[in-house]
């Protein structure tokens, strides 16, 4: 195993790298290292052997943490590129071509896409808006910071949920930049939704029936927002789209499960210790879902690098996009 892959895998495991984009970029950069240090063993072809090598890296990463849909798409892209490498290229040329392809994917599909999303989304923020966001989505954070730099006057409500409490990190960064914020837990969502003018959410993936697969709780936020007639805008790079369809919003079969002990212990609240000595009880279980799926009727608009589209247009983008990157 290449040390770069090993390092990234352990960072996934410890939670040092989290968030769809960060994980994907870290993985692709590790692959670049793998490609750089690669030399074709005798009596093997570069295309086949390197694909096998990447596959073994992927299965190691999957052991560390289940892959996100976006990572699956990126892996598909890399493997496609390897398979399409012309046989006429020398080893060093092939490696250089592959590295630059991966570099291009990171720059265009992830970093570039975010810039475009920010450009689009900022047009939707007006003076006096009260924006609500949930968790700590990177794309939304960039949108908010950019809008603030443009001098727009708005307030941000950061909604958070246990056990990760990632919203606190976002909250800290926003306040540092001088944005007025309010903070609450997801339970209080109905209390604060009256004030909200727009909801900005991030997504781990968008499926082709318009379902948004994201951090658990996103569906609750979108549902309450819809009940209060507040528009829900989802910021998601197009490389995270997937042609899968799902109807089951708990997706128990493919959902990632977090550490159950994270629920029984409340960090920083020593008075909440009801489960001390009960954790081995056969009747007591803890379920720590990581993701949920938001039905497309709760989504007003998806902001992608291809523009602002309704959720019904997702399959079109999936088709166009897939054609483009398979070429």
């Amino acid at each position: 195993m290449h040390p770069a892959v090993y390092k990234v895998g352990l960072q996934y495991l410890s939670g040092d790298i989290s968030g769809g984009n960060a994980r994907c970029i870290a993985m692709l950069q590790a692959f670049q290292e793998v490609v750089k240090d690669y030399s074709t063993p005798p009596e093997k072809t570069l295309n086949r052997d390197m694909a096998a090598k990447i596959s073994s890296c992927v299965s190691f990463l999957r052991e560390c943490r289940p892959l996100s849909v976006s990572m699956g798409n990126a892996i598909r892209f890399v493997k496609n590129r390897i398979a399409k490498l012309p046989m006429t290229l020398s080893e060093s040329e092939a490696k250089a071509a592959l590295k630059s392809d991966i570099e291009r994917f990171i720059n265009e599909k992830i970093i570039g896409a975010d810039t475009v999303i920010v450009k689009h989304a900022v047009t939707k923020i007006r003076d006096g808006d009260v924006l609500l966001t949930y968790g700590s989505p990177t794309a939304v954070e960039m949108v908010l910071l950019h809008a603030h730099e443009l001098g727009k006057k708005f307030r941000v409500l950061v909604v958070d949920s246990r056990p990760k409490l990632q919203g606190q990190l976002l909250l800290r960064r926003l306040i540092k930049r001088g944005i007025n914020c309010a903070y609450t837990h997801i339970n209080a969502i109905s209390y604060i939704m009256h004030q909200v003018t727009k909801v900005f959410l991030g997504a781990s993936s968008v499926f082709s029936n318009g379902t948004v697969y994201s951090r658990v709780g996103t569906a609750c936020v979108a549902m309450v927002a819809t009940a209060f007639r507040v528009p829900v805008l989802v910021c998601c790079e197009a490389y995270k789209f997937h042609e899968r369809v799902i109807l089951d919003y708990s997706i128990c079969s493919s959902n990632e499960l977090g550490d159950p002990n994270a629920i029984s212990k409340v960090h920083g609240r020593e008075d909440i210790n009801y489960f001390d000595g009960l954790t081995n009880n056969a009747n007591l279980k803890f379920l720590n879902l990581m993701y949920d799926a938001t039905p497309s009727d709760y989504i007003s608009m998806i902001i992608t690098d291809y523009g602002m589209v309704p959720p019904t247009s997702v399959p079109v983008i999936v088709r166009e996009y897939q054609k483009e990157h398979l070429l």
Binding site: P163, N187, V216, G217, M223, I263, Y274
Partner: protein, 407 residues
């Protein structure tokens, strides 16, 4: 009297400092306090009901003002006032019955003479008023055809006729207080026993192999689920943990101790799990007259999710939680904001809390309650049985008299 006054002050302080919370506990304390107020209240010979009502009202106003969000306190005060009015009325009608027999000759002209100040006459009017206002309309009262003018305030008239029949009234005075205290005792009994009454109905609603979702920590819900478990129903309970108070942890612990299969989920997973759930059961903090529910924070989210997946949303409420008021903007006006320290460590964010140095301001929102509109509720289960949200106003009308709605 002074010792009663001091217990009132003590209880008011407890309410104000939120040392005592929860509708069950506050209702129980309130009714016991009112009982001692009534038993210590010296009643004059004339107009004893009015004196009792004034005393109870005076104490009730203080209690309600101490914690306006704890609606059970106001409910119980109104219930006690209703008991006083009813007992007074039934005594007057009973006395009237006795008069009817004594002055049978005088009563001949009652129907054509509507004189004021004629003692027997005014008592008859009171009786008629009693029939038309308090008793449910029956065929008999309709056929009797009591005139509309009969509905005069009876407290004044009972005072009027007490002047002439003082001998009768001296025994009545003692009897009224005795009867009222008897009624209040019944109310205490009812509040204490509402769990069992509600739990008895569990078997009709929870079926084999079902999955129940609940949130918040409610003794009523606990007893309800355990009653079904005792009847050999096997089912699974999902408990949302209810951050930042984590009352779900408390409920889960008690459920596990009683041997129920319990799974604790995060609050954010409510929507994800609702499609796996057969029924949502919650305990109300208060039920408003329009059928809306004040419940633990997060309840509205669960109710919306339940509606989306057509999962029945069942609310358990003892009769002391039925509030005769109609809510206006209840999310804000009938809510209470708690300390931000439950959400954020002051130490961690202390640098962000100063409003200078170009950093943004931070506001932390930590409400206690949530409002569920009546259209999201499938069923109310009270100690008198199951009811639709649209029926709650009528049920509530049985428990309170219209004069006490505004205190």
């Amino acid at each position: 009297m002074p010792d009663v006054q001091s217990t009132v002050v003590e209880f008011v302080n407890k309410l104000r400092k939120r040392k005592i919370e929860g509708s069950q506990a506050t209702a129980k304390c309130t009714v016991e306090l009112l009982r001692s107020v009534i038993s210590h209240q010296r009643v004059p010979h004339a107009n004893q009901a009015a004196a009792l009502i004034d005393a109870v009202k005076a104490v009730g106003e203080q209690l309600v003002a101490a914690n306006p969000v704890e609606l059970a306190v106001g409910n119980v005060v109104r219930r006690v006032l209703h008991i006083i009015r009813e007992e007074d009325l039934s005594l007057t009608t009973a006395a009237m019955g006795g008069l009817d027999l004594l002055d049978a000759s005088d009563d001949d002209d009652v129907d054509n003479c509507k004189g004021i100040g004629y003692p027997a006459m005014s008592a008859a009017v009171v009786a008629a008023a009693a029939r038309s206002t308090l008793r449910p309309p029956s065929l008999q009262t309709l056929l009797e055809g009591t005139p509309e003018s009969a509905t005069v305030p009876y407290t004044s008239s009972s005072g009027a006729d007490s002047e002439s029949k003082t001998a009768d009234k001296s025994s009545l005075t003692r009897k009224l207080k005795h009867d009222v205290i008897e009624g209040v005792n019944q109310l205490i009994h009812e509040i204490a026993g509402c769990h069992e009454q509600i739990a008895e109905q569990a078997i009709e609603h929870i079926h084999q192999n079902e999955v129940i979702l609940t949130l918040g920590s409610s003794r009523t819900v606990l007893e309800f689920l355990c009653a079904a478990k005792e009847k050999k129903r096997s089912f699974r309970v999902f408990v949302a943990e209810g951050a930042p108070r984590y009352q779900g942890h408390l409920l889960a612990k008690e459920l596990v101790a009683r041997g129920l299969q319990t799974t604790v989920i995060t609050d954010s997973a409510v929507f994800a799990m609702i499609s796996r759930v057969n029924m949502v059961i919650i305990g109300a903090h208060a039920v408003m007259a329009n059928g809306g529910v004040i419940g633990p924070v997060g309840v509205n989210m669960a109710a919306l999710a339940a509606q989306k997946h057509a999962v029945p949303f069942v609310v358990l409420a003892g009769s002391h939680k039925l509030c005769p008021l109609y809510p206006h903007n209840p999310e804000v006006l009938l809510n209470e904001l708690r300390s931000p320290s439950e959400l954020l460590d002051f130490g961690e964010f202390s640098d962000c809390l100063d409003f200078g140095a170009g950093s943004g301001s931070l506001q932390v929102v930590n409400p206690t309650f949530d409002y569920v509109p009546p259209n999201l509720v499938s069923l109310f289960i009270t100690d008198t049985g199951g009811h639709n949200p649209s029926y709650m106003y009528r049920l509530i009308a049985d428990y309170y008299s219209a004069d006490d709605l505004v205190m």
